[in-house]
């Protein structure tokens, strides 16, 4: 077997860039779309921003299998919880459940998560759940292999008083920078914006991702007759 053949036997993992940032009234979550098995891109249009409830989403990084299945469990727990509560679950609760799953199974999982969303009590909120299974509430957070390249950028660009449009622009800029420098991140950019008005999804195709770090712009697409 050659190199690529062995790659296909490797577990599927998401060398990833994910992030979430809060603005006045909600949150914006962003992610690249690359999933790889070794050096082979298994999926170039992956959706790494998965719904947990109608207004709470989770950004997944690490093993695709681990994070997909963990998310399924959290979805199940939240559904049962909201039935007992007779109300929508809070972001805090979703984050706590994800954290518990991540922490209690830390030896069997490879999962870096960001839980964010909107609820009536706290408004928009962002929670980071890094590899060990800690739970941190932050105004914004970045994760995945690509995040290493954009700490400085995000620290400089993030402001607490951003509008929804500013926040969206910030997320797209940060993710496109990470995709430009991180080999394991790439493809398209997906964003999810959550506020009291509901959920908006945005998709930026690979050839429309903003030029970030001096690479050549994508060639203009031939117009079809």
């Amino acid at each position: 077997m050659d190199g690529t053949m062995q790659d296909l036997a490797l577990p599927v993992s998401m060398g990833t860039t994910i992030m979430a940032a809060s603005f006045d009234g909600g949150v914006v979550m962003g992610a690249d779309s690359r999933t790889s098995t070794g050096a082979y891109i298994a999926n170039r249009v992956t959706d790494k921003i998965t719904p947990l409830t109608d207004s709470i989403y989770i950004c997944r990084s690490g093993s695709a299998a681990d994070t997909q299945n963990l998310s399924r469990y959290v979805q199940l727990f939240l559904e049962q919880h909201s039935m007992e509560l007779g109300d929508e679950a809070e972001v805090k609760t979703a984050a706590k459940l994800a954290q518990m799953m991540a922490y209690q199974n830390k030896n069997m999982l490879q999962a870096g998560l960001i839980v964010a969303g909107w609820d009536r009590h706290e408004g928009g909120s962002v929670y980071a759940i890094p590899l060990g299974g800690t739970l941190v509430r932050t105004p914004f957070t970045i994760g995945g292999s690509g995040s290493a390249y954009i700490y400085g950028l995000c620290d400089k660009l993030w402001r607490p008083d951003m509008s929804e449009a500013d926040c969206q622009a910030f997320v797209v800029k940060a993710v496109s920078h990470a995709m430009a420098r991180d080999g394991s991140s790439g493809g398209c950019i997906r964003t999810v914006t959550i506020s009291k008005d509901g959920v908006k999804r945005n998709f930026i195709p690979g050839d429309s991702v903003p030029v970030a770090a001096g690479e050549l712009p994508a060639p203009v697409r031939a117009v079809q007759a």
């Binding site: 577990p11 298994a42 999926n43 997909q68």
Partner: protein, 271 residues
Amino acid sequence: MAGASQQGGFAFDLCKRNEFFEAKGVKHPGFTKTGTTIAGIIFKDGVVLGADTRSTAGTTVADKNCEKIHYIAPNIYCCGAGTAADTENVTGMVASQLELHRYATGAQSRVVTAMTLLKGHLFKYQGHVSAALVLGGVDFRGPHLFTVYPHGSTDSLPYCTMGSGSLNAMAVFESGYKDDLTREEAMDLVARAIRSGIMNDLGSGSNVDLCIITKDGVEYLRNHEYLQAKTYERQFPQKFASGSVPVVRERIYDIKKVVTVVEGEPMDMEA
């Protein structure tokens, strides 16, 4: 090994022995894996699944015309790559669970249900069940196509490939895929993708199987492209054409001369 039976529980002596042998360079026997090319595509009215038909044991071809497109439900089929035993059994298990589910609900099976059952099972076994699958079908929500990896991750895609020949097949898809292909175009593209695996990947070979699923039904085209006929057809059990055995002697008896029929009372059937 001595004394292991006196303690109860598991004995790991043989693991140590095997490690020792392995360190000395002994190769242990492996499982039958299907070096494979499988692929699927969504077209205008449904999905087309495709597979090669080579099964290998190491570098030896174990079966030149095996079936890799497995039945899941009347509206769902699944291509399997990886360890043959695992793909056969995991698809069989899900097929039977879905059949029971249909009896209980009286409703058509959904493709996501099959996908969720598969990923749940594979995740539970942490990758030790080596089944890499392309799952396709049509339900009331329309056509669906998924890849399922041995560790339990899934992707939902308009076109996908799996197995050792997946790179060859994906190259064909990436150059030829368009949205809303016709049935014939889709069949042709999938057959071409599988053929590129058969021709260029060592693990894949022989013929092309196709399975076309639409809301109106399934067309399972076994050996759609019969590229490599068997070099030797097995002669047993021998079949004799009618008339190939000569009639040596013929005798005709008149049965009325031997048997006499006697009228009698009907049997009393009352209890």
